[in-house]
Amino acid sequence: MTSAMGNRNVKIAIFLAGLFVVAILPLFFNESSGFIDDCTLALAYICMALGLNIIVGFAGLLDLGYVAFFAIGAYTMGWFASGFYADADIHLFVGEFASSIPGIHVNFLIVLVIAAALTTLAGIIIGLPTLRLRGDYIAIVTLAFGEIIHRIAINGDEVKIAEGFPLTNGRQGITPVDKIDLPFLEPFTSLNLRPWYWVALALALFVLFVNFRLRDSRLGRAWIALREDEVAAISMGIPAVKTKLLAYGTGAAFGGMSGAFLASYLNTVNADQFAFSFSIFVLAMVILGGLGSIWGGGRGRGRADVHQLPPHPRRAQRRAEQGRARIRPLRAVVRHLRLPARDHDGPQTRRPDTGAAPPDGARTGHRRGRHRARPGGAMTDSSPDLILDARDVSKVFGGLTAVGGVDFAIPRGGIVSLIGPNGAGKTTFFNMLTGLYKPTTGAILFDGAPITGGRPDKIMARGIARTFQNIRLFGTMSARENVMVGEHARMRAGLFGSVLRTPRVRREERHVSDKAAEELAYVGLAANTFDQLAINLAYGDQRRVEIARALASDPKLLLLDEPTAGMNPQESDELTALMHRLRDERGLTILLIEHDMKVVMGVSEYITVLDHGEKIAEGLPDEVRADNRVIEAYLGKGAMHE
């Protein structure tokens, strides 16, 4: 702990020293030197790269139209701080010079806030149609938006908001734009570039700070979880729509602020600045630095500048000579380019298991006497001891009935199994319970309240947690962070709370992190593996982490989808014991899909058998084992007669 603290102090010291050097850098150069000019532009671009990093890097939403936010931010500056609308006469907290000329002149800081607000709104509007789309479709829609904004910028001089108030000044550009004029400071001029540099530096530091704060927050984890595996993320209680829109909005705001600054600095807002190539230019910075890596956004910058097409060939040349940036090996870049996994946890299942004939379960009938109530068809009323009651639930895909009219109930505090041959509709049924699929017919009551067709994250928040058949951990997060994602629905920290890191948020973070460690220990993970990346864990441990992640949300009902698949007999036994512990120590109700009959017979109090989407049998383990239809479903028609 102390060495970690020491390490941290050293890091802070290095950072502060670096910051000091960067801050006094312009003092070593001529007031209007080209170097300061370059650095100021670079800092403004860093802001954009960091903004885009939130959208593409953190949340994995490939945005090829980032230039739209630059444009909107810059035009905000053009509209609210220039002589463009000469017929208007609005002056708000501006210096003497700006007060003396006609037009709308608003203080830079206010414009900055307006720009952030407008671009956030634009980000959300642009984000909305992409929510249902896959990776490269998102790319094309955002690109289209970028082009639409570009076109509007070019032709905006024809569009009149009111007489004498055109939307843009097309390719002529809105010029001159007010220079920054802050209270207590000399008005900025194009002769002394140092103040510009410092403002850009302050902006960049602000954006950097927000990036860092967000990455290690509830929201940052939600973004990365969505990027890594959207299905798993929403099943863990992350509201996809809201979280994605927050990414678009936040990322866009930084682009807008940087755009407003650049409009003032470059003294023009010209439609030709907002071409597609600029989006790619910013994206190249993010990618060169490594997606999702914060320092990358800054580091990739210098390199990418070289390829900036318009409009400063001299500048580009000079920058190439500086060549401060370090290019990471391509492999590293590629590793970071990660989009959500493609497969859907659909009705398809693994190759047939052979464990068909029910073996002798040593612990058959364990705790059998606990409940005699027959859940399911016989139950007409949702009696209070049922935690889940699904009635006449069916799901039809196209013409295929995956699940047809199944009645299913789980008593509180029970361990219930759902078995059946591959393709029987078990996972489809799971997906309906957790909200991933909307049932075609039927109703599902959980804890007495209907959850039919509700959103997965809401159902999760109600208290149903699950694991997946093919492990779906968030690969680039540590085991602990994976489990912390599971607590998302139980946390309260929002965007601003996370950025400010209020005491409440801090407390919550600490609490959640401790609880994650507790859960990991509870499922039997060694303490030294808590902070390892999930993909580097052993297979059995990955399964454990998945269970811990589900437990983290304090569920009432835990759905386990083939938890022992790929486990050796000893691990299976451990898992069986864990299930009993969960039920006895925590009062959890467990629904299990399982192929391993030894596990099923050993742990279940009640078994339901599905075949071709229909319930063919249910009952106590012994009854099910003796049921002819079950044997037939597993072994084929001939089997009974032999």
Binding site: G135, D136, I140, A144, F145, R151, V333, L339, P450
Partner: protein, 352 residues
């Protein structure tokens, strides 16, 4: 608690509207422009000949987009990549045509037989150049990244698109360049219901239809076409069945590039101006067409191309050329909102 918010059997009017929109929303959106201007024409002029003219011009334009869109759709169908450089391959096709006219000394003054022969020769050259270029792009830029995450080849595709734009810039300069109107494309051949059919229309539609028929026949009937469809379905399984997946993918790029080359020639003859940036917009428009029809679906790409052509022509004629790209892209966004799987349904691995 918001417990009872989802009762089971209550009829949901919102749901009904949503279902209806997702079924017919796209068609509704597509009909807005022609219907609006049709009504306007009827009330202003009493007949629909202006709209008819727009539609005929739109179909000619659209057949060019259809040819380019097929290239997108084939490539997306087989390797699930938006080949951003495809628009530039089309542009290089136009440039090749313009260059080749000069090389073989093709002028408008030549007789019809000489002109037809020369154009056929140019068509073959353009198709070969663009086809080869496309295959080369795949070799150099996409093949090494085939197992990389989706974003990586997409970025190299954009990169290649920029490279080719700059090649075009170096080749023929940065301004729009007029080329000789070889076929006298605005000459009205005949008039149907007050709508003029010009040489250009005949050329565009007359070249596209046989090419599309050839392509569809090749893909559905030939052995190689079957290999392409198999690879599109499941590359791993196709490989196990003895199909050379690399060759098949190259073939796909070759076919797509060849069609883009043909489109480039038609574009040059029809528009009589070419420039280095034509590929970017054309590429986006054609991609929109492919998505509209349902990506991976050749018939869809043709249908989408024709529809986009008509939209574009109406926008050009009624609203103003400078707004056309914005309108086409707005359509792209609307398609994504209403029906991401397109008019005729996607045919990709993910869509199943």
């Amino acid at each position: 608690m918001e417990a009872a918010s989802i009762p089971a059997a209550r009829p949901k009017p919102l749901q009904v509207v949503q279902d209806w929109l997702s079924k017919y929303g796209l068609i509704l959106v597509l009909l807005i422009m022609p219907v609006y201007y049709g009504i306007q024409d009827l009330s202003d002029e009493g007949d629909l000949s202006r709209l008819g003219g727009n539609i005929v011009d739109g179909l000619s334009n659209g057949s060019i987009w259809a040819l380019v869109a097929i290239g997108y759709t084939l490539v997306y169908g087989i390797i699930e990549l938006i080949n951003f450089a495809h628009g530039e391959v089309f542009m290089i096709g136009s440039f090749t045509a313009a260059g080749f006219f000069g090389t073989i000394g093709l002028t408008a003054g030549m007789g019809v037989p000489g002109l037809v022969l020369g154009l056929l020769l140019t068509l073959i050259v353009c198709m070969l150049v663009s086809g080869t270029l496309n295959v080369m792009i795949e070799r150099v830029a996409y093949r090494p990244l085939r197992n990389a995450p989706v974003l990586a080849p997409l970025i190299t595709a954009v990169g290649f698109s920029f490279i080719l734009q700059n090649v075009g810039l170096l080749w023929r300069g940065g301004s729009q360049e007029g080329i000789g109107d070889l076929i006298n494309s605005q000459n009205a051949l005949f008039t149907v219901f007050g709508v003029e059919i010009t040489n250009g229309d005949l050329l565009a539609i007359g070249t596209t239809i046989p090419l599309v028929i050839l392509m569809v026949t090749f893909i559905t009937r030939s052995r190689l076409g079957k290999a392409m469809r198999a690879t599109a379905q499941d590359p791993e399984a196709a490989r196990l069945m003895g199909i050379n997946v690399d060759t098949t993918i190259s073939l796909t790029f070759l076919l797509g590039g060849m069609l883009a080359g043909a489109a480039g020639l038609i574009y040059a003859l029809y528009q009589t101006t070419i420039w280095y940036a034509q590929g970017f917009t054309a590429g986006l428009i054609a991609f929109t067409a492919a998505v509209m029809g349902g990506i991976g679906n050749i018939k869809g790409a043709v249908l989408g191309g024709l529809i986009i052509g008509i939209i574009q022509q109406i926008a050009d004629n009624r609203i103003g050329t400078e707004w056309t790209p914005a309108i086409v892209f707005a359509y792209l966004v609307l398609i994504m909102v209403f029906k991401p799987s397109g008019l005729l349904g996607e045919q990709t691995r993910e869509a199943g």
